[in-house]
Symmetry: C2
Subunit: 475 residues, 2 copies
């Protein structure tokens, strides 16, 4: 049989089975946007011929990485909100409030370029205004599970205190819900299934109960999952307690949110009982180790959640306090922070965290039938990494094999040479094929200049700690 | 005046002063192997002309990074010793014992290539057999503070228990001391000062008291500093206690080792009183966050040590349990592990960890008159990073400046475009200029194949956890 593409002769890290499922001299056959076969080079080359072949000698061949929680637009203020205590109100929000839609779109494109070149093929992009941002994914050719992030609070600019309980703005909530519905109508299951949608209320303290009910009804009606920040901060807990006399998880339970179709980011501020309840209900957890470590100095309860039977996938969150959207970074951070937490080098071994960026990430988002491992019938999302790049060498191929440990602990992502999404070669020989990277990055830099100018115009910088430190020559 | 080279128009991160000392539109003039001037582009271009200029528009210009503790040869068994409890005896040592000198030399070259391309210009290379390895630094053009690592224990192969107290092998100790002296005679202050030497006893439990005395006498005679693992493990403490009835720090104090000329790696197993004593004596600390985090699940007491007035620099240690020699990685790990430890996002801010990889690293090794910041009269070790690479964009140039946070939290090292060491362009447009990278990496891979074959021949893999996991499909 003749297929479109065969990748052969590589270390094929299938991520099938309980570990990493490596086939040492392996091959992957691709027909259209689908994996036709995976096996040894001898098997595949015996059974198939191809219009195009890629020699993967000295390469690792992996499923594309799955980022379970990312706000792509935030990259427009990358690096502007870390080393401080009040990340949200003294860092990211005042700056983001100065970004217009065109700036956010430019930031999103930058972020997608960054991540796809580092091997991310599926973006669970949870952001605003998604109706605009999603066109970046269309253009680059990335796989996206998109959610319009719905927030019913008045837009935050400068000077809001995190303790303040504010009135909701129902008109804003309705507008955003309408946009979310439009997104679903226009994009859900579009582009041959490469683009799908979820509903995306921002958090339990950021939407009224009425709006949360409407969102849930819409998800049920359209058979959609929900992507949502859950118990992400003491602010959320405090505000929900003050408003309703109950904690966020209890509120969401009452509203019928706690089902396997809820994908909960962070769950940092949960009790053991709440974690057990969430796991029992089948809610999945997005673990954003870099982001939460840098902005809060905390490690979300991933190990406990796994031990209660919960599903966990890795996410990069946002760039103004991570500061990169690079799943190789998340794998490293996740392993080392857990080893340190437990004073035990055996916890969160390399094979486990690689699973959390691939197959277990896909399982956590309910998309493991499509992506997350190299298996016939799944979508052809495949990355190739150069094992002869300095940080990946030497290759010890046995009896001790060092490829997976080096992918997790040594790789920086710059070893990703080829990225195939939905059967299409999106990155080849380290070069993005689908958009003009230089031009898009220049556009993001122009947008950042406009934001800097607006910041000067407002005079807010007098109160921003990072502006103060810039003045002092620390930054 | 005409100089050899001017780098102009970049964000010059001088690392002078108490922070990062950025000059936004800055320039660096280089004459021979020395920095002639640093200032604004207008100033420098007004005062100097040059044989060669480099336009650093949209680049960050930094002093080359200083790695205060690295065993370059160990890269030959990269990725073969993590996620296990007994790192030394069940992981690295059995494999290293199968490496011959030519393999170690190939591993060292691989490691130097990896690190220099990620911006490391000064290597405090503490390894064995340094008399062979050092020629790699001669060839690549890296700056090295070399120490022949002296170990008087019988060579460890397979099956040694970490609890075993073994007889010293004085003949081996004398041989290694002789090699160390030869190294000093041949290389100290050679190549225009680019290569210098220290004495390097491996640890207080690995050399007899007699040998430690001889090493110290040799250091005094030749006016040399000492690079040494100090209180690196409970094994060291236990064995020194058993042998002498005292703890390592007490032993070293008696032997006169505790002076500002002792550069102590790790000091993980020290009491507060010992840390205070070490700091008071002026001993410096090498903090290898990635290595100790991955192999021990621990974070050495850097913050305490700094608070007692101690000097601390970052190091990458070794690749079979880090697994990379990339100071960008160390900066990130150092920041996030401390933030998590203290549940405080404000500790170890970006500017501080960047200092610990540059000027404070140089101060800790006693070489700050030569390197670690961009200042007239210092050696011309300079790196350029592309701020228009995806992970470094966008640039917000003020009133909030994000360049230093992004260097620390976002960069992976692959953004390093140009590396100048001792006035010579060693890496240009991401390509190593001095040795053939492809050929050297192929040689390291060949060496690794030989080690794998020897491992099969020994049959040791039956007892190595990593071989077991490879068999099970985890690795």
């Amino acid at each position: 049989m003749t297929v479109d593409l065969i990748i052969y002769g590589g270390f094929v890290v299938t991520m099938e089975g309980r570990g990493t499922g490596i086939i040492p001299d392996g091959a992957v056959a691709i027909q259209g946007n689908t994996i036709a076969a995976v096996g040894s080079t001898a098997e595949i080359m015996g059974q198939y011929s191809a219009h195009r072949t890629i020699d993967a000698k000295n390469k690792a061949v992996l499923p594309g990485l799955v980022d379970t929680h990312i706000h792509t637009s935030n990259a427009i203020v990358r690096g502007c909100s870390q080393d401080i205590n009040k990340w949200m109100y003294s860092g990211i929000l005042p700056l983001l409030s100065l970004a217009k839609t065109e700036d956010l779109t430019a930031g999103s494109m930058l972020n997608i370029i960054e991540a796809v070149k580092k091997g991310t093929t599926t973006f669970c992009d949870y952001d605003f205004p998604m109706l605009e941002l999603i066109e970046n994914h269309v253009r680059v050719g990335t796989r996206v599970v998109a959610a319009e992030m719905i927030n019913e609070l008045p837009t935050v600019t400068y000077g809001v205190q995190d303790t303040q309980l504010r009135d909701f703005d129902p008109a804003k909530g309705e507008r955003q819900l309408r946009d979310a519905k439009t997104l679903v109508e226009r994009y859900h299951q579009s582009h041959g299934g490469r683009i799908t949608c979820m509903m995306g209320p921002q958090a339990s303290e950021m939407c009224s109960v009425e709006l949360l009910r409407e969102v849930k009804a819409c998800a049920d009606k359209h058979d959609l999952d929900i992507h949502m920040h859950v118990a992400q901060s003491d602010r959320e807990t405090r505000q929900v307690m003050e408003r309703y006399g109950k904690r966020p998880v209890e509120l969401l339970e009452e509203l019928g949110y706690l089902t396997p179709r809820l994908h909960a980011a962070h769950i940092t501020e949960t009790s053991e009982a709440e974690q057990r309840l969430l796991a029992r209900r089948g809610v999945s957890m997005a673990l954003c180790t870099g982001s939460i470590g840098i902005i809060n100095g905390e490690l979300p309860p991933a190990e406990a959640y796994l031990s209660y039977g919960g599903r966990v996938g890795l996410g990069t969150d946002q760039a103004p306090g991570n500061n990169c959207n690079n799943l190789f970074n998340e794998m490293k951070f996740t392993a080392i922070l857990h080893k340190y937490k437990h004073n035990d080098p055996t916890v969160f071994p390399a094979w486990k965290v690689l699973r959390m960026a691939t197959i277990e990430a896909a399982e956590s988002m309910g998309i493991a039938e499509q992506v997350g491992s190299l298996r016939p019938g799944k979508k052809a999302d495949v990355i190739l990494m150069d094992l002869h790049s300095p940080a990946m060498s030497p290759v010890l191929s046995g009896p001790v094999r060092n490829i997976v440990p080096n992918i997790v602990y040594s790789a920086s992502g710059s070893e990703v040479e080829t990225v195939i999404i939905d059967g299409r070669v999106v990155v080849e020989n380290y070069v993005l094929q689908t958009v003009d990277e230089v031009q898009e990055i220049a556009a993001a830099n122009k947008a950042a200049e406009r934001i800097c100018q607006r910041l000067r115009d407002t005079g807010w910088e007098r109160e921003l700690p990072l502006a103060q430190w810039t003045k002092e020559g620390l930054y």
